[in-house]
Amino acid sequence: MKKFDKNKVILGFAAPVLAIVAALVLTSIIIAATGKDPFHAFEVMVDYGSKSDSQVWIINKATPYYLSALAVAIGFRMNLFNIGVDGQYRIAAFFAAVVGGALTLPGIIQIPIIIIVAMLVGALWAGIAGLLKTTRGVSEVISTIMLNAIGASVIAYFLKDGRLAEKEGNLVHTPYLPDAAHFFEIPTTPKPIYGFVVVAALAGIAYWFVLGRTRFGFDLRTVGQSESAAHASGVSVKRMVITAMLLSGAMAGLVGMPTLLGVSYNYGTDFPTGIGFTGIAIALLGRNHPIGMVAGALLWGFLDRTSTQLEFEGYAQEVVGVMQGVIVLCVVIAYEIVRRYGLKMQQRKVGEELAAQARKSDKAEVSA
């Protein structure tokens, strides 16, 4: 029994190691194909990415990525593919910015109000997809991606001078949040880390606890693994679908908050888009694991940070995008290969043990 466990540990490490090695080899080949030296590229990345200001930059960049991955992972854990995190966080951040810009309350009240508005709007927007799935059987993949487009149009409609926004040069944005509504920062040099990283960490802990340690989390995972089994054990699948979408959407509502409360203090035409899709990649990369996704988000931030530097050194800017894609593919494939190999080993092991038992009883019969 002890030996079996050791194998499993080795297998557990084999997957990420295999993925990293494969990703490195593949990207080296791609960089070499563009006629550049891949080893110098990696050297540049490690050297530049480990500088102190790069570290701060990476953590700040990884914070929304991590929240987005959490939102996606909640859906993944029960087999729901919430592609709509992108639309959910944008519409959530937009309305939170509108509410925040209209109020002038003490920060201790205003900041929670902004965050709660964002979570509610995100949950509502995702809830539409949940409702459509349970009442009309519409696949959440289709409905969430369409809600992304609708969300973008809603924002575009209201984000006009004279509607819910104001003009500043060529940029249009919602009114600035009052100074009291600025989130705290962790003073590091040369640039500070956004305080929202603390909220992201708390969200990660909540994700781990609720899904891994509560009855509700157990029900949610059961529905993900087998709807009929969950139904048979008295879990209302429909209710779980709606609840999971609401939770996923509420988490998505947090994605825009580090930017809104820590950087831009408004929602404008330059508000970052696409973080919801990055979240899908990171959830895959981190295997829906709260710590795994931290690693994935930081890796993504690192790659983003170093891509500009690579361009600076004369490499094609697209190299990093290719790298990100290759890494996700490698991780997914490596885990699948290792899982199958482990399954095979387990089968062989059980077969051998059964054969040994059979031989033993054979011998016993002969000697008898």
Partner: protein
């Protein structure tokens, strides 16, 4: 499903990684990538493009020509970097900081998206000179370059109205924002002033920056307009404009009006040039060259510099000779703007 040992091991690993990450963060007081300072010793010009890159045959390329000219005439060197779709403020700041830190001077942000990041980075590098195209940024070391797009577009509207046989002309904007509305406003006013009966249809590709980098969407929009008998289409959409010009070239007697660069002269668009009536040229190259020269001469430009029709900042391209027959009327319109007889609106 995992054995107890596995769980313990993965917890230990997790704890290890977290500790390492924390240690990494706390030692973030190590060397910073920008510590070397930057500033006085200039390596040349740093040019940061908006999405689309230098070969967009349009806006960015015009800026790049300014640098090319400076390289030839002033002997300075330069470095160009390009924005990605869906960028955040953090990336733009990083790009500008990298350039400033490496000793490039001046650092020029091409496109209004750089407004906020230039403002911040200019404070971090007070010894470096910055310039921003298409926006106004305050700062003792920042030159703000703006253009009279509405005035140039007015002339395009005049040309379109005179050339249209169906009395229907169209405008396609890349991104629904204040800057592109200046193009729309001028075009509409010019067309209406020339022919009160003309019908102007104005449409946008979207409200995110992707609209400047999406030729397929522009092609579809242009096709839709052609199907509605619109026979002159003016597209102000950066790289996306290529798609619209391609669509127009597929229809006999239809005209496209280009933007920012003289698109008739673009080698990449040579296949379609017989359908490029004219282009509203925004002489970003002149402005970029002026800035580079001023820094080279030790008298860096600062403050706001509008390049209007009267300064030659915007003009209507004549290559191809398709508007030679209506030259007199365009000159007349130009004169009345320069003389102040016609006030061109900046919002539609």
């Amino acid at each position: 499903m995992k054995g107890p040992l596995v769980r313990r091991v993965s917890t230990i690993t997790a704890a290890g990684i977290t500790t390492a990450a924390l240690a990494f963060t706390l030692t973030a007081c190590g060397e910073s990538s920008t510590e070397s300072g930057g500033g006085s010793s200039s390596k040349g010009v740093g040019l940061a493009f908006d999405v689309g890159g230098r070969d967009d045959h349009s806006f960015n390329e015009s800026a790049a020509r300014g640098l090319d000219k400076a390289e030839k005439e002033l002997g300075v060197k330069g470095k160009m970097m390009t924005a990605k779709n869906g960028e955040t403020e953090a990336e733009r700041e990083q790009r500008l900081s990298s350039l400033a830190d490496a000793g490039y001077n001046p650092v020029i942000g091409v496109g209004f998206n750089y407004a906020k990041s230039i403002e911040k980075v200019a404070k971090d590098f007070p010894k470096t000179n910055f310039a921003i195209v298409d926006s106004v940024v305050q700062g003792p070391n920042v030159d703000s370059i703006t253009f009279g797009e509405h005035e140039g577009s007015y002339l395009a509207g005049v040309a379109a109205a005179l050339k249209s046989k169906t009395n229907k002309v169209g405008f396609i904007g890349g991104v629904d924002n204040e800057l592109i509305k200046k193009f729309q406003a001028g075009f509409e006013q010019g067309a209406k002033a020339t022919n009160p009966k003309i019908e102007v249809t104005s449409e946008y590709l979207g409200s995110s920056d992707k609209g400047f980098n999406d030729p397929a969407a522009a092609k579809d929009k242009a096709k839709g307009m052609l199907d509605r008998d619109i026979d002159v289409i003016y597209t102000a959409a950066g790289l996306s404009g290529n798609g619209s010009i391609e669509a127009v070239s597929g229809k006999k007697d239809a005209w496209a009006i280009g933007v920012d660069s003289d698109q008739y002269q673009q080698p990449g668009l040579a296949k379609y040039k017989d359908h490029i009536l004219t282009s509203v040229v925004k002489n970003v190259d002149v402005a970029v060259f002026d800035m580079i020269k001023s820094v080279k001469d030790g008298k860096p430009l600062t403050g706001t510099h509008p390049y209007l029709l009267k300064d030659g900042g915007v003009s209507l391209a004549t290559s191809g000779g398709f508007i030679d027959d209506i030259k007199a009327k365009i000159e007349e319109a130009k004169k009345s703007i320069v003389d102040g007889k016609v006030q061109v609106k900046t919002t539609p």
